[in-house]
């Protein structure tokens, strides 16, 4: 039973990493938001599975929060924003897809090496779980770095946060309060960034953040 439960947990965590790669690959905004919804669904499945095998009912609440907020409310809101801003056709690529994917693979390898070396004596499976979580965090950061559109920055940030939740639920005994507060902080960040998006749009007629750089007269 333990073997199977860990395998499923691994499958789901690996699925989350795969979803992160799909986020990294997508350069159209609507598809990116859909991918993020998928990302959140995989996360909530993973958390629910952890709740099942750890016999921790409060993790179901976390899974529900992930499902409702991140897989439904936020993607819907983002779709509406995209529609209202009329940027659903926009294609953005700062760095080419190929190098980005290669960098992503490198980051996953780095996460594996670090995690397996940090906890050599510990549970090998738990270490791999943490390595997956760290990969998701690093890939989220990579998305934020390689994108130019403010909406994709938001998505990168949220996928990063998904990685944190994955790490936290993989470890036993994280209190619900922490998860709720994290979820709320993400929600507030989403609201703030959403407001900012519209403010940026109002002022600059675009949500391309390089407009902000031009405004600040960035010195290279």
């Amino acid at each position: 039973m333990t073997g199977l439960s860990f395998d499923v947990a691994h499958l789901l965590a690996g699925g989350l990493v795969l979803a992160s790669f799909m986020l990294l690959y997508q350069d159209r905004l609507s598809a990116l938001v859909n991918m993020f919804a998928l990302h959140a669904v995989v996360l909530s499945l993973s958390v629910a599975w952890q709740a099942l095998i750890q016999h921790a009912p409060h993790l179901y609440v976390t899974a529900a929060i992930a499902l409702v907020f991140k897989a439904m409310i936020i993607p819907t809101a983002l779709h509406r924003i995209i529609k209202r801003l009329g940027i659903h056709r926009e294609i953005e690529n700062v760095v080419g897809v190929g190098p980005t994917m290669l960098a992503g693979i490198g980051l996953v390898a780095l996460a594996m090496v670090v995690m397996l070396r940090v906890a050599p004596g510990g549970d090998r499976l738990a270490g791999e779980d943490l390595a997956f979580a760290l990969s998701v965090v690093l890939l989220g950061l990579l998305i934020m770095v390689t994108r130019r559109n403010a909406v994709s920055l938001v998505i990168g940030f949220m996928s990063l946060e998904n990685g944190l939740v994955l790490a936290a639920t993989g470890a036993k005994g994280m209190p619900l309060v922490v998860e709720i507060s994290v979820a709320f902080s993400v929600l507030i960040a989403f609201i703030v960034i959403g407001v900012f998006l519209f403010r940026i749009r109002e002022r600059f007629d675009t949500v391309d953040v390089s407009a902000l750089d031009r405004f600040r007269e960035a010195r290279k």
């Binding site: 780095l110 950061l141 934020m144």
Partner: protein, 675 residues
């Protein structure tokens, strides 16, 4: 000793609480009422603190009084302790603070913006008390920082002058540097276990390398606050910039709090000293004394001259402490007791006469609006009482008997004369050299104060404001005469002070000087009657008797032969005040001898060609060696690096994100490779 069911340390903490309360109160009450209320309140509270500390010191037989408040670090709490050493320094602090408050009741009325001074003054006093009471590193550092910041605010009280702003800036930088050094020193003392209470630090023995590091950090941290050369640069800028009663406190009292920090850490917490420690302290002390007084001789600003003289006196104190360390390292505790007593006695004395001199300078500034000696003169006729008190201060600081400065410097010399008994050859050579520096500094001090007094108070007024000066108010005079009386008393009865210091000295070096009040005829005997002794009372009686006799003889024998005639004018029939000796010309011989090398002093006279009616020009050029060789390069380097790093402020959002990302990946790579 318990009064109303409270231990002394609780009472003292109550005093500091009242001081903080006064600080709050000063913001709420009306402008006219605030000045007398705050200073009067501070006076009463400090007198209470003085009484408690003195009572504990005189009645103490090892009964330390402690308190733990539920503040600060959760696993340490805020610990406070009143032991003999702390009570000695509390006496110094509260006596100085009480005198300054008394002075300020009068002086503070002329303050143009009292709201910039009043809230910070009681907080400053309270913080100094707390530093001395603190018994764990956390409370100590917090109190130390409150002390630094409140005194910074007081330095910035007259912030409209650009010089004061610069002084405040340099003070803030140096204070942060000092606090950082102390923080690191305490971190090392606490060790990996994190024992931040002083008890835990005492119990823990540090390896020699660590002790050496802690010593260096404490010299940097406490030395920068006390004004050791080359860390003194902020002191002569910041001390004169504050209002005079605060200058007196900063110079007379706050430097002593820094000395306390040094003594507490090095003598008490750090464990047995190594012989080479004293070499470092003695060298720094010797250089500080001579350079301090040479700087003082070059100044024409009255308050800045006094501030440099503080640097010199801090050097004397550190010489005493260095000798104490040397003797303690060689297990000659009786000799160490003599040296440390000399240092602590000088701490007390300097707080008295430096406060007195700053009060005098403040009175002069209040009466004339001038701090530049070249524009003063003739004040002895216009401010006779201030002049008398200032004279007492000058005589005391010049270490002339029978005043207190002589008693403590004499003790320091007695300790130096014991140096042949030291074993280490380096110290055998070093200590007499330091003694020579001390002697040189003592002579130069006398010259510096003859110059100050002569130029500022004697002669004829060099400016219109000096001519119309009026005597200062009664509160200020009362404070000055109080301190002058104490200077005389401590000089005539040094045995009383030495005996009072005995428990503190005993706690530091394990022995104390022989009981002085038991000596016949109120003499003081450092080691043994056969070696040396000094009797201040006898000297006073002799001076009084011989002076009265001389005056009597002159009046009886000579005044009958009075005849009135024009004074000899030395060939100048038109006497203008400008033909008098000036501060610059008085110092010229010393400048030629010493400062031409140390300060690269050059004076240049440009005479007009014959027949030309243009005035002759005199130009004096001085270089500050410490600033130019040490601080200017550092400031330049920091400026250069800051200019380069400034570009980081104007990057794009994505570059910032990439920097964060790359930093994270870099750290993970380090982790992956390293483990």
């Amino acid at each position: 000793m318990t009064v109303i069911g409270q231990t002394p340390v609780e009472l003292l903490l109550g005093c500091t609480a009242v001081l903080f309360g006064l600080s709050m109160l000063s913001i709420t009450v009306g402008r006219r009422l605030a000045t007398p209320l705050v200073y009067g309140g501070c006076l009463l509270v400090c007198l209470a603190g003085l009484a408690i500390a003195l009572g504990h010191l005189l009645g103490a037989t090892g009964g330390d009084s402690t308190a733990i408040l539920p503040l600060g670090l959760p696993w340490v709490g805020a610990r406070f302790r009143l032991d003999a050493l702390a009570s000695v320094f509390l006496v110094v602090v509260n006596l100085g603070a009480a005198a300054a408050s008394l002075y300020a009741i009068g002086y503070g009325r002329h303050e143009p913006e009292p709201r910039r001074v009043l809230p910070f003054y009681p907080a400053f006093l309270a913080a100094m008390n707390l530093v001395i009471l603190a018994d764990d590193a956390f409370s100590f550092l917090v109190a130390w920082e409150v002390m630094s910041l409140s005194s910074w605010a007081l330095v910035m009280a007259h912030h409209r002058e650009a010089d004061n702003r610069r002084a405040g800036y340099i003070y803030l930088v140096m204070a942060s540097f000092g606090a950082l050094c102390l923080l690191l020193a305490f971190g090392l003392l606490a060790g990996p276990g994190g024992g931040y209470s002083f008890d835990a630090m005492r119990a823990q023995a540090s390896p020699p390398v660590l002790s050496a590091l802690v010593l260096s950090l404490v010299v940097l941290g406490a030395g920068s606050k006390a004004g050791l050369v080359p860390l003194h640069v902020w002191l002569p800028l910041a001390h004169p910039a504050a209002p005079s009663h605060v200058s007196a406190l900063m110079s007379g009292v706050m430097t002593k709090v820094a000395v306390y920090a040094f003594v507490r850490i090095v003598f008490d917490l750090l464990g047995p000293p190594s012989p080479w420690w004293s070499l470092l302290i003695l060298t720094l002390g010797g250089v500080t004394t001579v350079l301090g007084i040479l700087y003082a001789l070059m100044q024409t600003d009255l308050k800045r001259m006094l501030a440099y003289s503080t640097v010199e006196n801090v050097g004397i104190i550190f010489i005493g402490l260095g000798l104490g360390l040397a003797f303690k390292a060689q297990h000659m505790s009786w000799a160490a007791a003599l040296a440390v007593t000399a240092a602590l006695f000088h701490v007390f004395n300097h707080s008295l006469f430096k406060s007195l001199l700053f009060f005098g300078a403040g009175a002069v500034q209040g009466a004339t609006g001038e701090r530049d000696m070249e524009r003063l003169g003739g004040l002895i006729g216009r401010m006779p009482q201030t002049a008398l008190a200032f004279l007492v201060g000058c005589v005391a600081i010049s270490a002339l008997p029978p005043l207190n400065g002589f008693a403590s410097e004499w003790l320091a010399f007695q300790a130096i004369l014991l140096s042949p008994q030291l074993q280490a050859p380096a110290l055998k050579i070093m200590v007499p050299a330091v003694g020579a520096l001390l002697a040189l500094a003592a002579a130069l001090t006398a010259a510096a104060f003859v110059r100050t007094y002569g130029i500022a108070f004697l002669g004829r007024p060099r400016s219109a404001t000096a001519e119309t000066a009026r005597e200062t108010d009664r509160w200020s005079l009362a404070a000055m005469f109080l301190l002058a009386t104490l200077c005389l008393l401590a000089g005539v009865l040094p045995g009383l002070v030495i005996d009072a210091l005995a428990p503190a000295v005993g706690g530091l070096v394990g022995a104390h000087m022989p009981n002085q009040m038991a000596q016949p005829w109120l003499s003081i005997v450092p080691v043994a009657q056969s070696r040396s002794s000094y009797n201040g009372l006898l000297v006073l009686v002799f001076i009084t008797a011989s002076a009265s006799l001389a005056a009597f003889a002159i009046h009886r024998l000579a005044s009958r032969a009075v005849r009135r005639a024009p004074a000899w004018d030395g060939g100048y029939p038109e006497m203008s005040p400008a033909t008098q000796y000036t501060a610059g010309s008085f110092a010229q011989p010393i400048r030629r001898v010493f400062a031409s090398i140390v300060f690269r002093a050059r004076d240049e006279v440009t005479m007009p060609p014959p027949g030309d009616l243009a005035p002759a020009r005199f130009r004096l050029e001085l270089h500050d060696p410490v600033w130019e060789t040490l601080y200017a390069p550092i400031a330049g380097a920091v400026g250069y690096v800051a200019d380069r790093l400034n570009h980081l402020q104007f990057l794009t959002i994505r570059v910032y994100l990439s920097l964060v990302f790359l930093a994270l990946v870099g750290l993970l790579l380090v982790l992956a490779v390293w483990i």
